[in-house]
Amino acid sequence: MSVIQRPSDAPPTELTVAAVLRAVDGRHLAAALEALAAQGYELAATYVVGGPDEARRLAEERDAAWLPTQSDVIAAIGDEVSHVWFLHEDALPQPDALAALAAELARVDASVAGSKVIKPGSQRQLESVGSATDVLAHPYLGLEVDEVDQGQHDIVRDVSFVSGVSLLARRDLLKGLGGPDPIMAPEAAAIDLCWRARASGGRVVIVPSSEVIHAGEIRDGVPRWREQAGRVRVMLKNYSLLTLAWVVIAAFFVELGTSVVRTFFDRRLGLVDLARAWIWNLVHFPSVISARSKLRRARAVGDEEQFRYQVRGSVELQETGGLITNRLRRSAEDRQVLPADPAQAGQLAGPPYIGALVVGSLFLIASTWSILVNGVPVVGFTLPVSDSAGVTFDSWAGGWNPAGLGSAQPLHPAVAATALLNALLLSSSLATTAITVAAVGAALFGTTRVLWRLGAAPFSRYAAGAAVAAGPAAVGLTSAGYWPGLLAVAAAPWALAALLSPWPSSWRKRLGWGATATLLIGLMAAFAPLAAPIPFLALVGWALFGPGRWRSVAHAILPTILALFLLHPWLTTVSTAQLLGDGVFEFWEPSVMLMAALAGAVLITILIGDVWAAGLAAAGGVLVATGTVLARATQAGAGRELAVAGLVAAALGSGLAVGAALESPRRLETARLWRKLLAWTAAVGGLLLIGSALLVVPDGRIGLPEDQLGDRLAFTVNRADPHGPDRILLVGPTGTLPGEYRNGPGFTYRVVSAPVPPLDEAWLHDPLPGDEALAGTLERLMTEDEVRPGEALAPFGIRWVVLTGRTPFDAAMASQLDLRPLSLPGYRVFENELPSPRAVSGEEAWERVGTGYEGSVTGRRVYVAENADARWEPDRSASGWANEVSAALGSARFGGATELRNIALATAAYAVALVVVALFGRAWRRE
C-alpha cells in the first residue's frame, strides 16, 4: 500500500497502452471514444469489441479497430503494446484516468490496476473502489448504500479485484492467462481476471486517482444467474483441488439456503436461478479444465494469497440476514399504519425496537432450546408431522384415514394445515421442530404486531408476546401435550392483527384485506376450530370497552364466517354436539398466584388507566375470563375443542391485558402520583405473568412434557420384519397415550403405526367393526379366557403390545402364552411371536406404502387389516371386520370417498383463491 500520488508527481512511465472498449448496444460508444481521445496519456491503439453494426461503424469513423469478440483482442494487439486498458462502453474516464492508472501501476509494479468507479450525477456516489470477496467469490464492495465520494477511499491498495469498468493489465500476463473469460458475466469476469493475475504472482491494486464515471450499473442487462454462475466458475478455475473440495459444497448450500429464504423477499425465482447457474457450469465444465491447465503453468502462489484479500464468512448470508432485519424494521416503520400520536411514532424505530427484538429472539431460543437440540417430544397430541405431506393430503382429500384401524372419515383440519406447512418445508425431517419453533416465534411476534397496531411501545409489545407464547394459558395447552393448540395460539394474534389493520380505501385492497384475514383466521381455526370467533370477540371487546370502532367489528364478521369453510371436509362430518362435547382435555388449573396477579393487573388498569389502557385491559380480561370458564367446563360437558378454544382465548387475552398493564404507566405521565403508583402496581402484576413465562426455559420445551414415546418406540425399527413395522397396541392409564384413545375395562388403549405415530393418527374415528372386534378381544384377554393374545391380535396387524403404565391389563399380559416380553428400558413391551403383518397374501407380508399396501403380483387374495370398507381396491370383499382384495395388481389401495374428495378439492381451490386475492391485494397496497 502507498499513499496516493497525483499523476503530475509520478515518475515518468514507459507504458504503451492499448484501450479495449467492450461495446454492448453502442448507445454510449461515441461518448466513450471521445473520452479516450481526450486522455492526456497517449494510447497506442483503440479497439472496440462486439456490439451492433453501429458500434463497428463508429469504431471505423474514429480510427479504432473493431473486433467481433473479446477473445480476438489479445491476438490482435501487437507486441509493441505493454498494457491493455479494458473499458466498458458506458464508462467515461476522466482525462487523467489512464495517466493515473499507468503511473500507479508502474510505480507499485502491479499487474492489474483498476479505477475508482463513480455513478453519474453531481453527488459523486461511489460504485466501486476496489473490492474484497468472500471465499465463495461473492464480491464485498465495502460501501454504504449511495455512499458519496469524499476522498475517504483514496488510497492505492491491493484488493481482491477491481471493477471491469476500467481495468489496466499487463499484456504479457493477459496473453499467458488467455485474457478475460469471454463467457463470464462482467463482474465475475473481472474477479476471475484479477484472481488469475494474483495467482500468477501479480499484484492487483485500486488506483482511486483514476476516476471513471459509469453510466450504468455493472450488472445492468446481465441476468442475476449469470453472475451467480460466473462466481462458481471463478472458484472452479482458480482454487486448488483441496480448497475446491469443500468450497464448492459450501457454495451450493449457501446459495440454496439463501435462495430459499430470498424467494420470499427479493428473488422470486431464486431457486430457478440457482439451478440455471449450476447447470450452466456443468455445460461449460470442459472449458474449466483447459483454463485450470493454463493457470497451473502460470501459478506462482497458492490459494492462501487469495484468502488474504477475502472477508470472513459468507457475504451472501450476511446480505440475506440484513435483508430480513431490514424488512422487519421497514415493516415497523411503515408510516401508513403509524399511530396518530407522534410521541408513540417515535418509539417504533431505533434502539428500543432493536433491543426488544433481540430480547424477543433470545427468549424464543431459550424457551425452545431443548426442541432445537433434541427435537419435539412425542407425547399426547404432540406427534411428528407425516414424512410425506402428499400422503397426508391424499388422506385429507377423501383418502384413507390411517388412525387406529383406519377409516374413511376425514382428517382433523390441523393435520391438513401442518401438512401444508410441512410441504412448504419440503417434507423435511426437521419440519416438526421448525414448525414448533416458528409457532413460538409467531406467537411472540404476532402479539407484538397486534399491540403495535394498537399503538403500544416496543417493550410492552414484546413482553406481552412472551405472555401469549409461554404464559399460563399457552402452557396449559402445551403441558397437556396438545401441540396443535400451540399452533393455534401462534396464529391467533396474527388473525387479530389482520383484523386490526386499517380498512383499505379501494375495493381491490379490501378484497386483499379480507382474504388475508380469512386465511389467518382459518389457519388458527384449523388447529382449534372453536377458536375461530376469538379474534372477532377480541375486536368486540376492544370496541365495547375501549376506543375500538364498531365498524371494524362489522368488517370482521365476514372473514370469520368465510374462514370456517377452510375447515372442510372435516367440518361436514362433525356434529355440533361432537364439536362441543367430544374428547377429553386436562382440566386447567393455573397457578392461583399468577391468575391473581393477572386479575389484579386487569382490575387496576381498568380502574385507573386511560381509555386506551382500560379498554385493552378489559377486552383482554374478558377473553381470559371467558377462556378460563371454557377450559374448566369439563364437568359441564365441555369437550376437547371447547377447552382448547378457551385456552387460546385466555392466551390471547392475557397478552392484551399484560400489554395494557405495562403500557399504562407511560400513558399516565401527567397524572397524579397515586394513579401512577397504581399503574406501576398493575405493571408489576403483568411482569409477574411474564416472569412465569421464564419457567419454560429450564426445560426448553415451551412447556411440552418430556418425550414419552419417541425414544421408547424406536426399538420397533430394528425389530421390524422386512415388510416394515406393523402396528403397536398401547395400553395404559389416561394421559399416557398419544392422541385420542379408547376405553377398556380399567384402562385406555389405542392402536398406532410403528415406529412413531404421525399427527395424522392423533384423532380417532368413531368405532367401526374392527375397533369393536379389538375391544372384544381385549375384554376377553382381561377375563383370561384368552391366553393367546398374540394369536388374537395378529389379525389386527398388531406386532407389539406396549404398557405405558400400570393398569389391570397388566394381569392379562402376565398370564399369556404367545407374547414375548422384551427387555427394554421404559415401558413394558411384548412382541407377538406370530407373524402380524397389516396386509398379507398367503405367506407374503405386503409392505405399507402411503396408506395402501404393495406386494407381489399373484392370483391370490390379500388380507388387509383395515376397517372394512367397500371402497378398497381391487376386487374387494369383506373378511370379517377387515378387507380382502385381489393381489392381481400388486397393490391394495383405498379407492377414495368421492364426496369428501370433491369437498376437499373445493376447499383447496377456495384456499388457493384466497391466497391469490390476498397477494393481489398486498401488491395493490404497495402500489
Binding site: 369439563t634 359441564a636 377375563t783 383370561e784
Partner: protein, 450 residues
C-alpha cells in the same frame, strides 16, 4: 360506565371459572401384587397343571371336561420351549382323558391346557403303585397364592412346585410359616422362574421337621401356578394347588373309610381370625360345633374324628379371610382337598372316572334352606351319558353318590340352585384321592372385584 360493565362481566366470568368443579381424580389402579378376595377357580378356556409325572411306575391322567364343543391343545413346555403337544376334539358337552405316558414319558412334565371355547376344566390324576393323587388344573392366575396344609415331619416329603406356563419370566417371593411362626427363607425370596418352565423345591431341606407348614407365593412380575405335593410314608401322595382366601368355605369330602381327617384353617393375614366349624351330615347342619381362632401366619387344625361319624361335610365360617382345606390320612391312603369358596348351580368334575380301576364317589352339600335335586351326568368323548343320576339333597345336608359307569371321563353336576360338590377316588389296592370340582361361573375381569 364502560369500566363498570367490564369489571362486572369479568367478575361474573371469573366467579364462574373459579367455581367450576374439577373432575374427580382418576380411579386408583387396583394393586396388582396383593389381593384379599379369593381368585375364584372357575371353568375357563385355559388351565395349567403344575404337577404331572410319567415314568416307569407313575402315570398321569389329564381329565378334560367341556360344556361347548371344543378343540383342546395340551402342550408340555420345558426350558422355554414346547417339547410336545397333544390335540383333542371334544363334543359339547364332552370329556376325555389324556394319558401323559402316551406322549411323553420323561418324568415330570407340567402341562398347559388350552380350550378353544369356555367353559371347560381339567384336572390331573397321578397314579402309581398303591397311590392316587388328584387335583384340578387351575385356570386362574392371581398374583398371590396361599398354600397351607404342608408338613415336613419325619416320613413326609413336601415339594413346592412353581410352574410358569407363560411367555414372561416370573419373579416370585415365597413366604413360609409353620408351627414355629414365620420362617425366614432368603433363598426363597426373589426367585426367578423362567418363561415356560418350572422350579421344584424340596421343602424338607429348607424347613425340616415342621408339623404344619404353609406357604404364600407372590409374583411381582409375571405369574406362576404353584402346587404342593406331599408324600406321606406308607400312606400315599396328595397334590393340591394354591388357594385364594375367603370367609366361607365348604368341604364336601373330608373322609372316606377309616381315614383320620382334619380341617386346616390358615391365616396368613395380619390380624387374628375367629372361625366356626359347621358339621353337615345327611340329617342336616350342626352349626358351630367348634369355634376357634387362628393367629396371623399360623394354621389351625380341627380334627374331625371326635366330631362326627358317617357321611358328613364341613363348612368353615370366619370373620376374616382364610384358606381352608381338608386332609385325610389312613391305611387306605393320604388325601388333601381344598375347600370350595363358592356355591354354584353348575359344576364340572374333570377326571371323574378316568382311572379304570378306581371307584368314585361324588359328595354334594346343599347349603340352602330347601331341598335340591342335583343332576349328575357322566360325559365321555362321545358326549353325555344316556341316563343322568338325580340326587335329592335335603336342605342343609350332604349326600354322597357312588357313580359307576364305564367309559366316563368326567361328570357334570347341575341343580336349580347353588350347591357345592367334590369327589373322591379310591383304588382297590390302596390309594385315595380327594378332588375338588370346578364351578361354572361368569368370570370377572382381572383386577376387578368379583
Amino acid at each position: 360506565m364502560k369500566r363498570a360493565l367490564a369489571l362486572l362481566v369479568i367478575g361474573l366470568l371469573g366467579v364462574l371459572a373459579w367455581t367450576a368443579p374439577s373432575p374427580p381424580p382418576p380411579e386408583a389402579v387396583a394393586p396388582m401384587t396383593t389381593t384379599t378376595v379369593p381368585e375364584l377357580e372357575t371353568a375357563a378356556g385355559f388351565s395349567s397343571c403344575p404337577w404331572a409325572v410319567a415314568s416307569d411306575d407313575e402315570e398321569t391322567y389329564f381329565g378334560l371336561v367341556t360344556l361347548p364343543p371344543n378343540a383342546v391343545l395340551l402342550s408340555f413346555p420345558l426350558s422355554g420351549d414346547v417339547r410336545a403337544t397333544v390335540e383333542e376334539a371334544l363334543p359339547g358337552p364332552g370329556a376325555t382323558s389324556v394319558r401323559l405316558g402316551q406322549s411323553l414319558a420323561q418324568g415330570l412334565a407340567p402341562a398347559t391346557i388350552e380350550f378353544s371355547n369356555a367353559p371347560a376344566a381339567s384336572n390331573a390324576l397321578v397314579t402309581g403303585p398303591a397311590r392316587l393323587a388328584g387335583t384340578i388344573c387351575p385356570s386362574s392366575t392371581p398374583k398371590v397364592w396361599h398354600l397351607p396344609g404342608g408338613s415336613t415331619e419325619a416320613g413326609n416329603q413336601l415339594i413346592l412346585q412353581l410352574y410358569n406356563p407363560f411367555s414372561e419370566d416370573a419373579n416370585v417371593t415365597v413366604t413360609a410359616y409353620s408351627d414355629l411362626g414365620p420362617e425366614p427363607a432368603p433363598e426363597l425370596e426373589a426367585l426367578r422362574v423362567s418363561a415356560r418352565s418350572w422350579r421344584s423345591f424340596d421343602l424338607h431341606n429348607e424347613f425340616p421337621a415342621r408339623e404344619m407348614l404353609g406357604m404364600v407365593v407372590e409374583a411381582s412380575q409375571g405369574n406362576v401356578v404353584p402346587a404342593l405335593i406331599m408324600d406321606v410314608e406308607a400312606a400315599g401322595e396328595a397334590i393340591w394347588p394354591g388357594l385364594g382366601q375367603a370367609e366361607i368355605w365348604e368341604l364336601p369330602v373330608v373322609r372316606i373309610g377309616g381315614l383320620q381327617s382334619e380341617v386346616i384353617v390358615a391365616n396368613d393375614g395380619t390380624d387374628p381370625v375367629t372361625y366356626e366349624v359347621d358339621l353337615i351330615s345327611e340329617e342336616g347342619t350342626e352349626f358351630a360345633v367348634a369355634t376357634r381362632s387362628v393367629d396371623p401366619l399360623t394354621q389351625d387344625r380341627v380334627p374331625l374324628v371326635d366330631l362326627a361319624e358317617g357321611t358328613f361335610g364341613v363348612r368353615v365360617r370366619a370373620d376374616g379371610p382364610v384358606a381352608v382345606l381338608a386332609r385325610a390320612r389312613g391305611q387306605k391312603g393320604f388325601a388333601v382337598v381344598p375347600g370350595a369358596a363358592v356355591a354354584a348351580p353348575q359344576w364340572l368334575l374333570p377326571g371323574f372316572g378316568t382311572h379304570p380301576d378306581a371307584s368314585y364317589q361324588a359328595w354334594i352339600i346343599n347349603p340352602d334352606a330347601s331341598s335340591l335335586t342335583v343332576t349328575l351326568s357322566t360325559v365321555s368323548a362321545s358326549g353325555p351319558g344316556a341316563a343322568p343320576d338325580k340326587v335329592a339333597v335335603p336342605a342343609e345336608a350332604i349326600r354322597s353318590v357312588t357313580v359307576d359307569r364305564l367309559q366316563m371321563f368326567g361328570l357334570l353336576a347341575e341343580a336349580p340352585g347353588p350347591f357345592s360338590i367334590a369327589w373322591s377316588a379310591e383304588l382297590p389296592d390302596g390309594g385315595v384321592a380327594f378332588v375338588e370340582a370346578v364351578p361354572v361361573l361368569t368370570r370377572s375381569p382381572a383386577g376387578s372385584q368379583p
